[in-house]
Amino acid sequence: MDDPKLKNFIKTLKSVSLQPEEKRFLRSQLLTKIGVRKESVYWWQLVYLRSWSAVIVLIVFLITSSGGVSLAAEGSLPGEWLYPIKTKVNEPVARAITTTLGQTRADFETNLAEKRLDEVRGLEAQNKLDDKSEQQLEQLKENINQQVAKAKTLSSPVIEVKEADAPEKDDKPVRKNMTIKIEPKEHHTKLEKVLIEHQEVVEKLNRRIEDRTANRHSLRDRRDN
């Protein structure tokens, strides 16, 4: 097959494939359906209780308590003890069933990015951002950046700062790469709104980090003098 058009044609078709996580997820579902992978409920431990009513009560308790904890974790903020359950248990589970529920991964990750931004706003509203150290603020910023990057990668990546979105009262010409504060508008998609809010939140965190750094240097200078 020497024809370059044909070669290119075939090459393009060969590029279509399952994403690695899709392949893993399908395999996992398959193995569960054929009975190879089971839910890890240790039935043999419950048999030793010898009382089926006790077994049933225990099962119900385990399901409702774990479900209750999981539910309570949903409202937790960074730094609270339930927060790791939210990010390391609830969210991975939700991510794994995303395809099954028909929601795209892009939508899921965008919603999660919005959640990360809401968490920072929640901390601010409760005046808890003031208690965070420089390192903790950096970590918050990093978590947000990572999640927004994920949402961007999975969604359409082209978001531009348009002249039409610039504040009307500003007479200065809009220069390329100029940082413009933009309010989300009706026509913006959810991802676009998240990206706009992301800029705002990261700027706030950066200001606090700069304050912490300035304080630290100031204390060090005073100590040295």
Partner: protein, 165 residues
Amino acid sequence: MDLTSKLVSQFTLAYNQYADALFRYCYFKTSDRELAKDLVQQTFLQAWNYLQAGQKIKDFKPFLYRIAGNLVIDWYRKRKEESLDSLASGGLQLADNRQDPIDQAEIALVLKTLDKLDVGDKELIIWRHIEGLSIKEISAIISETENTVSVRLHRALQKLRDLLN
């Protein structure tokens, strides 16, 4: 290793090896990514049931393609009001949201060209030139002689060249 573990091992190996190829095949036939994934899963489940029933599979690849092909035909039959060709060419779902938009557009264009071929020619091109099946394997899938497959493939490739030029 007991019999079930051997079967699971064989099955998982087949999945790891052929899932991508089967997905591509189902996607090219249905133009629907989620449906293609479902069909892949159903294909492997049927293969598992076959293994569980104690049947031996001499060659996994053509066997899986035969199942997938039949599942696609069943799906088409369920949608009686639409023809095979119109289903394939209309309302194409993009290959993957995560791919570059330019790549997505290129794939869409290439698929539209592929759809202009007859169903049989399209299958031959997919099997031989995208999935790398041998003439022998293809003849096992479609129950034709190797000579017939070679001739049909040559003609299908010529038609594709004409479309591209």
